[in-house]
């Protein structure tokens, strides 16, 4: 079958099983858009800004496990997408970005809407390609999907000069079934000897802690992890990216660790004698002060990416390999082993952990006459029965979501962990809702973040993606304000906006339903009402306590056992803003 480049591209997407392409047309991709016009198999979702195209595709990938696909034009189309690409890169999300480029004869001449897209995106993609011959197009697309989805996943960009999709140049189309690349061998099998060594150390531990990250979810290893944790009876803590990889409501879960992690998780990490890190990368928000990170622990680290091993924290037993088969092997070895975990040591360890847990570090003032943001998230959890897909933006609300919505299943918690991209939440929610139209999708956000991609309210209407926006409106950039309160003597420099739009009217202007909630007693009812409306997007604008802070907190550069806990409610410091 002879096809032009534009049709080849669309056919490649069909053959790859792509359901949605998130994009925005422009000069360099017009041939491709014409090919899209001629078919219905690959559905194009027209966003309102290219950043949102990348976020929606990214969230689609996070929720489904399938690669997200983005199509943007050259120049500003590509540069607008960069924030979204970098977001996916930092969280290792499989994504293929197709960008138009000016025709190859004029590349380098500063032509209209020309930028060096391959150059600009190089540091924030797993790999990128520039197509120089239409005969290479199909194979390049295959390579892009292959690289994006194998090994440690990540975004791959294919830059396509306009002449590559010229409708007058037709060539024979054949999509490669399989591809190999001599310079890329992503399948790594964990070293047997290392796994054995790790199991011996684990079984001899007296104060063990399992520390699991996003790799568990990306590697589809949640079942194996859960099995291992139950088999051992050890406590488990999870990173922001790892939430849902082990049921949060399980009694062995001590919650999230790190900067806003629980007291029991961080104290447990600090005092542990053995740490099993599974698909986690010892991020600075997790470790705190490196020199004082887990001073007594032997560290075992399972990761698919060798460069994650000993990058910031020196590990004792590195295991490079896919998380799932490594955990399976560990489970087998543990079952076969003569060594059993010491019951007395473990009981003493759990007793210690329970004493930390009894501090009840996530408690807050439940008798407040103001709406507490934590309360909204708790009620959301109740109303959605803990089974919604929850996307978030970045800031205090993101931490409240992570702390108070208990994720029992993987791929339900969708947030920008590594890059921390404000504006992610709404387009992400749309991407998830398109993938799972029958599921509840909530976007937990704040009045600052939501305004960074608010134009996507229009996309939600056009493609009938009814999401529920939970706006925790404290009239401040809450996290910035919190840091300014703690570290800059409450000099609230530029963390406040006094011209916040009326979100109810704004939602209505975009064709949705808006609700404003001002009293704690109205929170639950409003949520129930909103989630009962299945076919409409509802914007719930919660007027929350302006002074609320995220606790507990390890301030930057401090150690796990040096946490700032909430001062008793209604002490002067906590209330000075009210």
């Amino acid at each position: 079958m002879e096809l032009s480049g534009g049709h080849i591209l669309v056919q490649c997407l069909k053959d790859e099983g792509v359901e949605f392409v998130f994009g925005y047309p422009g000069g360099s991709v017009l041939h491709i858009y014409d090919a899209i016009f001629h078919q219905d198999d690959v559905k194009h979702i027209l966003v309102r800004h290219e950043q949102a195209a990348a976020h929606s595709a990214d969230a689609y990938a996070r929720a489904t496990g399938k690669p997200g696909v983005v199509l943007v034009t050259s120049g500003p189309g590509a540069t607008n997408a960069v924030t979204g690409i970098a977001t996916a890169y930092m969280d290792s999300i499989p994504m293929v970005i197709l960008s138009g480029q000016v025709p190859s004869p004029v590349i380098g001449s500063d032509a209209f809407q020309e930028v060096d897209t391959v150059g600009i995106t190089r540091p924030c993609v797993k790999h990128n390609f520039l197509v120089k011959d239409v005969r290479d197009l199909a194979e390049t697309i295959k390579k892009a999907f292959y690289v994006a989805t194998t090994g440690r996943p990540g975004p791959v960009l294919v830059d396509i000069p306009k002449d590559m999709t010229d409708p007058n140049i037709k060539i024979e189309y054949k999509y490669p079934k399989k591809i190999t690349m001599r310079s890329y061998n992503p399948v790594v099998v964990g070293h047997k000897g290392q796994i054995k060594k790790a199991v011996d150390i684990l079984l001899n531990a007296e104060r063990p802690m399992i520390y699991a990250g996003g790799g568990v979810i990306l590697g589809e290893a949640h079942k194996e992890l859960t099995k291992l944790v139950h088999l051992l009876g050890y406590p488990i803590t999870q990173t922001l990216m790892g939430l849902g990889g082990f049921p949060a409501t399980d009694k062995q879960s001590v919650g999230m660790l790190g900067m806003h992690g629980t007291y029991e998780a961080n104290m447990g990490m600090h005092d542990s004698d053995v740490i099993l890190a599974v698909g986690a990368r010892f991020d600075d928000r997790v470790t705190g002060k490196l020199a004082e990170f887990c001073p007594y622990a032997k560290i075992i680290h399972i990761d698919i990416d060798p460069s994650s091993i000993s990058k910031t924290v020196k590990v004792d037993v590195p295991i490079v390999g896919e998380v799932k088969p490594v955990l399976e092997q560990m489970i087998e070895l543990i079952k076969e082993s003569d060594i059993k975990p010491s019951k007395t040591a473990l009981a003493a360890w759990w007793e210690k952990i329970e004493s930390w847990r009894s501090v009840n570090c996530l408690d807050y003032d439940r008798s407040s006459t103001l709406i507490k943001p934590q309360y909204v998230v708790e009620q959301l959890y109740q109303v959605t029965k803990g089974d919604a897909y929850v996307t978030s933006d970045v800031g205090q609300h993101q931490m409240y979501a992570a702390q108070y919505y208990h994720f029992d299943k993987p791929r339900r918690w969708i947030n920008s962990g590594g890059l921390g991209t404000m504006g992610f939440g709404l387009p992400a929610a749309i991407g998830v809702k398109l993938a799972f139209p029958d599921s509840d999708v909530a976007c937990i956000t704040g009045e600052a973040s939501i305004q960074m991609c608010i134009q996507e309210l229009s996309t939600a209407l056009q493609y009938n993606a009814p999401v529920k926006i939970i706006n925790l409106n404290n009239r401040y950039m809450g996290m910035v304000r919190q840091w300014q309160e703690f570290s800059y003597k409450s000099r609230y420099s530029q963390s406040y906006m006094d011209t916040i739009p009326e979100f109810v009217k704004l939602a209505e202007a975009y064709g949705h339903i808006g609700m404003r909630i001002e009293r704690p007693e109205d929170v639950k009812g409003a949520l129930e009402e909103a989630f009962a409306i299945k076919d409409r997007t509802v914007f719930l604008d919660f007027m929350t306590d302006r002074t609320e802070n995220v606790y507990p907190m390890i301030e930057a550069g401090k150690a796990h056992n040096d946490m700032k806990l909430r001062v008793a409610p209604s002490t002067p410091m906590d209330r000075e803003l009210s």
Binding site: V118, R122, L130, M181, S183, Y184, P306, S307, I309
Partner: protein, 163 residues
Amino acid sequence: MRHIISILIENESGALSRVAGLFSARGYNIESLTVAPTEDPSLSRMTLVTRGNDEIIEQITKQLNKLIDVVKLIDLAESSHIERELMLVKIKTTHETREEVKSMVDIFRGKIIDVTAHSYVVEMTGQSNKLDAFIHGFAEGSIIEVVRSGPTGISRGEKGLHL
């Protein structure tokens, strides 16, 4: 410590900038870098000299290996190897100094490859410190221009870096 990393990389446009970009993005330093296609024109061989403690070098090699275009790499400094650098030097000469310069070139086993009434161009290969020594042998002001390739290297013995 000084390390010489020898890299076999796909000979594609942008491959060099991926390596250079990695070093600048992660704050590693490149002391020198040489690159040219190999006997297989689809592959390039890169020799990169860098400095750092063991942890940094470990990260550098891991990060380089992670680049999709990198086929293989070795750290030559880890085993017995040979390294050579090419240098071209343009030296001012006068009637009185010509003989002296020529004998210096002979001592260092260089070659004079261009001659004018007032200058020589000298070609010399060797380890970098030998080339340094040659240059230091001349008085300030007598050297017009120095061009150095940066070191390139190969391991000793039968084994080679190939597919």
